[in-house]
Symmetry: C2
Subunit: 368 residues, 2 copies
């Protein structure tokens, strides 16, 4: 980690004196010149389909590099080693990965395992002295998330959550517009997050591993979106569950939840989280002076959006590439995205998920 | 009314044997030829801004004609008489309009007065033996609506509610597509109905006259839209009220309500009713096989819509013109719109409004 320390030393009098705000445009404008700063050397924990997507996206990163893997499946490790030229000394399994603390060639571990495993894994990574990047939901409830935040604080490592939309150019532009007052006071957010869940045997439908259903996996986008589109934290939650297929979606696995949030300004959010419908993936926000629609709003492909001022024309860049480069900038240069991606940000969403499940159970309004 | 009876007599063996379904296209195709059937001779009760809009739209009607007025303001009556060539014998006030029963030149009265007056006025019109067309909401609660339905049944007159969207060509096409299964099983409806209410001194913000706030005036579009877009009747309701301006929106006048409805198939609706936000007026429905977005969805101007198959290209025709011609067809030829506009249809919406206000009050789920 010598490189990073040297770099931080060099930067301290200039860049670190004021927070630098992340801009996907400036990032990529800068990248047209050769980059010779430090590289964030990342090990991915969990080599499933999303881990694979992140690994592929990282090939195009300018500031981050996949250098290690943690997996319980030796055959997967062999395949990844071959594909990404990963040395044997950077390969771990779930029993021995605490030894990563003695590996000077890994800066951070990106945890992309089932939700219910994140908390203990993140705490072990923190104790090993490595930065923690954790896929969302960062945990299965706020209590776990809080333990993760504290563990990373204690270990003096960063805890970042995989909020890729916070680096997505059109989303960043909308947040910038909102912060600049271009919509006026935001009044209403509407989020439609969901899809028809295919394979009924995956871990996402196993409560022991997922901690919940659609809300954990896809509903969280509407929760987080409401917060970054409105720029406030909710003060109350109501929620209603509908289940049409109790065989596929067992006890504790939510299929469809509509939920509402009230905000201090009087703004309201009305959201859908579902594993039973397609043609959704839309955010809408209206304010006193304007509006924005994003559709698709959070899918992996190009985001499309328009506001009262016209179509959003920022380029599509693979979200995970932007995210990992952005997180490297955050770690090495303290360049902050307009909306945080830290553990506290993840914890806020977990508190809301807890409240949504509570509201479903009690049928009443839950104050936050 | 001799013309009408003769016509019904002639039609009885053909048109009345099977229900004929309304089609705005066939209506206007037919209208290219001169129309020589009966004219629905209408008196408008309540000469306010919406009454004025209806009167102007009726100038272009082929099957309906404005022939009378009922108003408490003599100066307005004089003005309307001059504008629309209305004979003195067809002019009434709120005290003497029961005498309309002896007027053979009026077939129907369109009640466009404050909501809280509809019930008693409709019952008086029915007792006078005239068809009742009543602006929506048809009453201020289901109990009143039921009395209106019964009174019109007893008097053997039609009771029609001003659901202009049921005659609007793009809306009719979407309903046709839904009925034909082109969206597959509908799963989710999202309705955003509202605008920033201007003039704080109008009757719509006076509980004694309006019976409620935004829900009565504009939220009802999302209620009715959910029902015609999903093709089902809700079995439960939840609702949450937010009030940011208790001076403008006094006790009993709802400013912003989010509400949700569950349907027997498992479909859900998530809706917004507000007097405090602009840039709304959107319907969205997704089904197993397709989707539709309408925006604007219920404004007076051209409706815009697109589905998974492309843009809806049906022409814009002034809604109130289509509505009044359609209602004339309904009365004289029993041509039914794809979704009814009768008293029972209005009563269903009133039961839902009652449930929404109850859900706001209790904070819990209200079963229907």
């Amino acid at each position: 980690m010598g490189t990073r320390r040297d770099f931080l030393g060099k930067m301290s009098l200039t860049a670190l004196s004021l927070p630098i705000l992340y801009s996907p445009t400036s990032l990529f404008a800068a990248c047209e010149q050769p980059y010779d700063g430090p590289m964030l050397r990342v090990a991915i924990m969990g080599l499933g389909s999303y881990g694979t997507r992140v690994a592929k996206a990282m090939v195009d990163c300018k500031r981050a590099k996949l250098v290690g893997v943690i997996s319980g499946t030796p055959s997967k490790i062999l395949k990844w080693q071959a594909t990404y030229d990963i040395p044997q000394k950077n390969c771990y399994n779930y029993d021995d990965f605490d030894a990563i603390k003695d590996n000077p060639d890994i800066d951070a571990v990106y945890i992309i395992t089932p939700n219910a495993l994140h908390c203990e894994q993140a705490i072990r990574v923190a104790k090993a002295g490595k930065h923690v990047i954790c896929e969302k939901p960062m945990a299965i409830n706020a209590e776990e998330a809080e333990r993760m935040v504290n563990a990373c604080k204690d270990a003096k490592v960063k805890l970042l959550v995989g909020y890729r939309m916070h680096f997505e150019p059109k989303t960043v532009e909308v947040i910038r517009m909102r912060q600049a007052g271009e919509f006026g006071q935001p009044k209403f957010f509407q989020g439609q997050s969901g899809f028809v869940m295919g394979n009924p045997n995956q871990w996402r439908l196993d409560k022991e591993l997922s901690g919940g259903g659609a809300m954990m996996d896809i509903g969280i986008y509407s929760i987080n979106g409401a917060r970054y589109m409105l720029g406030e934290e909710p003060i109350w939650i109501t929620a209603q569950e509908t289940k049409t297929d109790p065989v596929k979606f067992k006890e504790g696995i939510d299929e469809t939840i509509t939920f509402q949030m009230g905000f201090p300004s009087g703004a309201v959010a009305s959201c859908l989280s579902t594993y039973a419908m397609n043609h959704l993936d839309r955010f809408y926000m209206t304010g006193e002076k304007g509006w924005v629609e994003m559709r698709p709003s959070t899918g992996y492909g190009p985001i499309k959006g328009r506001t009262h001022k016209g179509e959003l024309l920022q380029p599509h860049i693979t979200h995970q590439t932007l995210q990992m480069d952005g997180m490297a900038q955050l770690i090495f240069e303290d360049v902050q995205p307009l909306v945080p991606v830290d553990g506290e940000e993840g914890l806020r969403d977990m508190k809301i998920i807890d409240a949504i499940y509570k509201a479903v159970k009690t049928g009443g309004k839950v104050d936050l």
